[in-house]
Amino acid sequence: MITFIRQNMKALLLTMLIVLKVLLAASGNEMAHDSARAGGETNKIEIRDFMFNPPTITVKSGQTITWINRDEEPHTIVSVGKKFQKSSALDTDQQFSITAGAPGIYEYFCSVHPKMTGTIVVEQ
């Protein structure tokens, strides 16, 4: 019984996520901060040794991008030209996610260590 409810809930959640994803893709003007940390397609960028890895990532509009900090130093994700919401300082193992919006090239950097830079290429 409990399993049955769980499965149903899981199906419901999945449906909701798909709807959400479609809505986000349709709205598509800006990169949105994805606080739900959901998204079917997750593109991970690992921060290690003061570098974004991979430094350039190509995603489709509507996909989720997640950074995870593996350093013992705090890092931030800040868009050059403020094209998407910046993260707060991420401590070790903390994550930050956004959903890719309109197609284009988005440069970002760590405002604590500005030598750290990365690029997101969003395709249709």
Binding site: E72, E73, T76, S88, A89, D91, S111, V112, P114, T117
Partner: protein, 327 residues
């Protein structure tokens, strides 16, 4: 007297020979005491000072002490108890035969700019016999709010401008605290910005060239290692305003190790951290905290040296290198 234009070890005024320097302090809880005698700045590590005859200090015009990078809130492997090592630093300051007139903290008070981290620092600092502390922020102190908490707490005793820069005079010296950790640009280094540079130019405009100037900021104002961001992109402009002065001492933190450089009349010096060491420039994959065996942590070997040149007069240099677990 020493020959001019030579880098000399100062055996004469500190009562400590080279062996004494080599036995100097543990890295954890280090600080550098700066003394001014006859207009000449000399630095000594706390361990050296503890061995000095108090009367030799009484003869100086002014003494102050630099601490840096306390990183309160850091609890990773490189040092799981930065509070303890900061306390050791304060204990050593309190144990000095003659207390310094004031402290300068060259930034990274906290690890993550959290109010509770600032609270801990403030609470600990109350235990210091020397009450006056002049601050500049590190990037760790301005992480999420552009430095608001920092400014609200640490600039009460100064007339700060802009994002928190200021100057003051003590015993004939002119001190300047600069902010180079805000509004950083992608791919860049530390930055002072036009507003601060214009203020600096105006601040120095009417100051006689013979006034000794001490500049302090978190990120080095000379290019230590740009690959790791260890430098300030527009520091050259700041230095151009300082070139006419006979004696300029630039004190920085950020890199958790002692490095120095002399350029004309300007001496650049970086201080050790009270929290954890960082690798030498380029000696590791990244500038992250350097992990050393636990038993070595407090005896991490360090280097402290300072040059000071006043016109064509003698150049005093004090080296301190390495340390013993117990002083």
């Amino acid at each position: 007297m020493n020959d001019h234009n030579h880098i000399l070890h100062d055996h004469e005024h500190d009562g400590i020979d080279r062996r004494g320097f080599l036995k100097c302090m543990a890295w954890a809880g280090t600080g550098v005491l700066w003394t001014v005698t006859g207009g000449v700045l000399v630095s000594r590590t706390l361990a050296q000072i503890a061995k000095l005859d108090p009367s030799s200090l009484a003869a100086t015009d002014l003494s102050f002490l630099q601490i840096s990078d306390s990183h309160i809130g850091f609890s990773k492997e490189a040092n799981k108890d930065v509070t303890e090592t900061f306390k050791i630093a304060l204990d050593r300051i309190n144990a000095l035969p003659a207390p310094p007139s004031f402290l300068i903290h060259t930034g990274d008070i906290t690890q993550l700019s959290k109010p509770e981290e600032f609270d801990t620092f403030d609470q600990l600092a109350k235990g210091c016999r020397t009450k006056d502390i002049f601050f500049v922020p590190g990037e760790h102190d301005v992480l999420n709010d552009g430095g608001k908490i920092y400014r609200d707490r640490y600039l009460k005793s100064v007339e700060a401008k802009g994002s928190g820069w200021y100057s003051f005079n003590k015993n004939g010296l002119h001190f300047i605290g600069l902010v180079n950790v805000l509004n950083l640009e992608a791919g860049g280094l530390g930055q002072l910005g036009d507003d601060q540079l214009e203020w600096l130019q105006a601040d120095l405009k009417d100051l006689p060239s013979e006034t000794p100037v001490v500049v302090f900021a978190h990120i080095p104002l000379w290019t230590v290692y740009p690959q790791w961001g260890w430098g300030t992109s527009d520091s050259e402009r700041a230095l151009s305003y300082l070139k006419r002065f006979g004696s300029v001492t630039v004190l920085n933190g950020h890199i958790h190790q002692v490095l120095q450089k002399v350029e004309g009349n300007i001496t650049f010096h970086t201080a050790m951290s009270t929290a954890f060491p960082q690798p030498a420039p380029g000696a590791a994959a990244s500038p992250g905290p350097l992990k050393v065996p636990a038993e070595k942590l407090r005896s991490m070997l360090g280097l402290t040296s300072v040059h000071y040149k006043q016109g064509n007069s003698s150049l005093a240099v004090i080296d301190s290198n390495l340390s013993q677990p117990k002083i």
